[in-house]
């Protein structure tokens, strides 16, 4: 059972297995273990980013493709739901339609970009994706009648998913079971299922070819694998998964805008999460996304505590002032990349 679920790709480190189980338990019981709007927001964001980062790992870690268009596919998913819900009303039908249209757009666009440009060298492909993604971001902010421009779109969702909807009369384990809890579990289970699907793809005969292409594309061609086709299919699968992450994120936030999905900052976050977690491992996405999102959210709080505690000591309170949180986040990243070049997963597996 576990073997089938994990596609025979085990964590291969006791520490890593423990860490993954902790993250899984934390996310599965988040509404009960960490009640409160903010912590549930963090948990949902972690779920979405695990999926998003795992799909990027398929490209970067497994196939050796450097793409900067991943947030574009993330955005297509989010805007798909947002536009459908805004235009067609908050019904399940419009959400399904919006999702399907978004997935179809992503599949087409990714195959087109792949077929046209995956023949060229890595760096040129990276530049092309950068250009296409910038174009798309500008398009989204300029077509304000359709996309809400810089402000983005805020919309209603079907009744079942709204915070006001109570499903149970009495609270369960002290938590009121409302539409937000339902939304959270939709996000959680979909992200988990799609993560396992990606884990299956990288452990399939196809996934092994991707690693061969990453290692030596010349030889992969010589033994009969047309690398442009394999790269394009990988690009398409990754784009579909990224769009699915976008759909889930828009479903959770009830908002889609350039800052939450399309911005280049998110692209950099994704890159950092893959590298910190460990490239080409899939589990690295889980660890990287969880640590990153938690650090991003709670580092400021932690620093405020430290700053208050250090009051009276010269210089120290200023250094750990919450306004300096980006500086400390940066230092943490530099240290982690320096200390664990193979990522956290690589480090943990290497200890065995």
């Amino acid at each position: 059972m576990t073997r089938r679920l994990l596609s025979g790709d085990y964590p291969r480190s006791r520490m890593l297995a423990t860490l993954l189980l902790l993250i899984l338990a934390g996310l599965a019981f988040a509404p009960f273990a960490f009640p409160g709007t903010r912590s549930l927001d963090v948990a949902a964001k972690v779920c979405v980013f695990i999926l998003l980062v795992a799909s990027y790992d398929l490209l970067l870690g497994y196939t050796g493709i450097v793409s900067f268009a991943h947030t574009m596919f993330f955005g297509i998913g989010a805007y798909g739901i947002a536009i459908a819900a805004t235009r067609l009303g908050p019904t399940w039908g419009s959400l399904v339609l919006g999702s399907l249209v978004a997935l179809a757009c992503s599949a087409l666009l990714s195959l087109l970009i792949g077929m046209l440009s995956l023949r060229v060298k890595t760096i040129f492909f990276a530049m092309i994706t950068l250009a296409v993604a910038s174009f798309f971001a500008i398009l989204a902010s300029q077509l304000s009648g359709f996309t809400g421009g810089e402000d983005g779109l805020t919309y209603k969702l079907p009744q079942l998913l709204l915070p006001g909807t109570k499903l149970l009369e009495a609270p369960l384990f002290g938590v009121e079971i409302n539409g937000r809890i339902v939304s959270y579990y939709i996000v959680f289970f979909t992200a988990a299922a799609l993560f396992l699907a990606l884990l299956r793809v990288v452990n399939s005969p196809f996934g092994r070819v991707l690693q061969a292409i990453r290692e030596n594309d010349f030889r992969a061609e010589a033994i009969g694998y047309r690398s442009v086709i394999y790269r394009s299919v990988a690009n398409c699968v990754a784009a579909l998964a990224a769009s699915a992450a976008g759909i889930l994120y828009a479903l959770w936030l009830r908002y889609a805008g350039p800052d939450t999905t399309l911005s280049f900052d998110i692209m950099i976050d994704i890159l950092l999460m893959v590298v910190i977690g460990g490239m080409g491992t899939m589990y690295g996405a889980v660890v990287g996304a969880t640590l990153f999102v938690i650090a991003q959210t709670y580092l400021q709080d932690l620093m405020k505590l430290a700053s208050d505690a250090a009051a009276g000591i010269p210089l120290l309170p200023d250094l750990v002032h919450p306004d300096r949180w980006l500086l400390w986040l940066g230092i943490l990243f530099i240290l982690s990349v320096y200390r664990f070049p193979a990522g956290i997963v690589g480090k943990l597996r290497g200890r065995q």
Binding site: E221, A222, Y225, S227
Partner: protein, 259 residues
């Protein structure tokens, strides 16, 4: 990959095959036919265009002129991967492996390509036991079974050459192309390779092309020798006749006598 064909019709033909790099003509108007159950050695001094000719046949390079046909069908426009799938198998002169994958995985990928399973996205690779067993069989044939879990990059040079051949065997081609298979190998490793080529040859239906510098190897294996000199085909025939011909004595043995 395909049913046995009669010895009459050539498997592979090149028609006026030419490639220029700027002003330099590396392969010039080479027309030649290769029949099954024949091992053809391609000899010539360094820089004569032997490896370039190989690259044109297996698809790593596109010619500036001329055509390549496989079983009479024009394959000049096909990429290397398509030619491999149609039965052309090539081992490279400079070892060309998947360095960070295991020895077994290097061969398994070739077996998987031959089985046409590359685009299978939703099954687990380790579940396809038959592919793994076939890969192990080819490793056994080149006597690398004990190194199956080693990374290809960690192998000694001679073992890397053997792995190169195991990959070629795993593709189960109709046309085998060996580019200096014994280059850089120690004396005691060479017989393993030669025996292997001999085994392939004795199967009877395979077409084999061999680029080789060592004249003793060539004369013990070849049914036919063609000589390339400055990109042109200058001699073609029975080994004894070709080696004795003045043009070979002068163009090849004279110039490359130190090898």
């Amino acid at each position: 990959m395909s049913e046995p064909r009669s010895g009459e019709h050539p498997v592979l033909e090149t028609h006026g095959l030419t490639i220029r790099f700027g002003g330099h003509v590396a392969v010039n108007q080479v027309s030649c036919a290769f029949r099954p159950d024949t091992l053809t050695a391609i000899v010539g001094p360094n820089g004569a265009g032997k490896t370039t000719y190989f690259n044109l046949i297996s698809g790593q390079l596109r010619p500036t002129g001329g055509r390549v046909t496989l079983y009479g069908e024009d394959i000049t426009a096909l990429p290397a991967s398509q030619r491999t799938r149609r039965g052309i198998g090539r081992a490279f002169q400079l070892t060309n492996l998947f360095p960070q994958l295991s020895v077994l995985e290097n061969v398994r990928l070739a077996v998987q390509s031959h089985a046409g399973m590359g685009l299978n996205l939703f099954s687990v690779w380790s579940g396809h036991v038959e592919l793994i067993e076939r890969a192990e069989h080819y490793l056994h044939r080149v006597k690398l079974t004990e190194r199956r879990d080693t990374l290809a990059s960690a192998l000694a040079h001679g073992d890397q050459r053997k792995l190169e051949l195991a990959i070629l065997l795993a593709l189960d081609p109709d046309l085998f192309m060996f580019d200096e298979p014994t280059a850089g190998m120690s004396v005691d490793e060479v017989p393993v390779i030669l025996e292997l080529i001999h085994e392939i040859k004795s199967q009877g239906d395979k077409t084999i092309l061999l680029v080789e510098h060592k004249m003793d190897v060539v004369s013990s294996l070849a049914d036919r020798i063609i000589v390339l000199h400055q990109g042109e085909l200058v001699a073609d025939g029975e080994p004894a006749t070709v080696i004795a011909s003045p043009i070979v004595q002068q163009a090849y043995l004279g110039l490359a006598g130190h090898e």
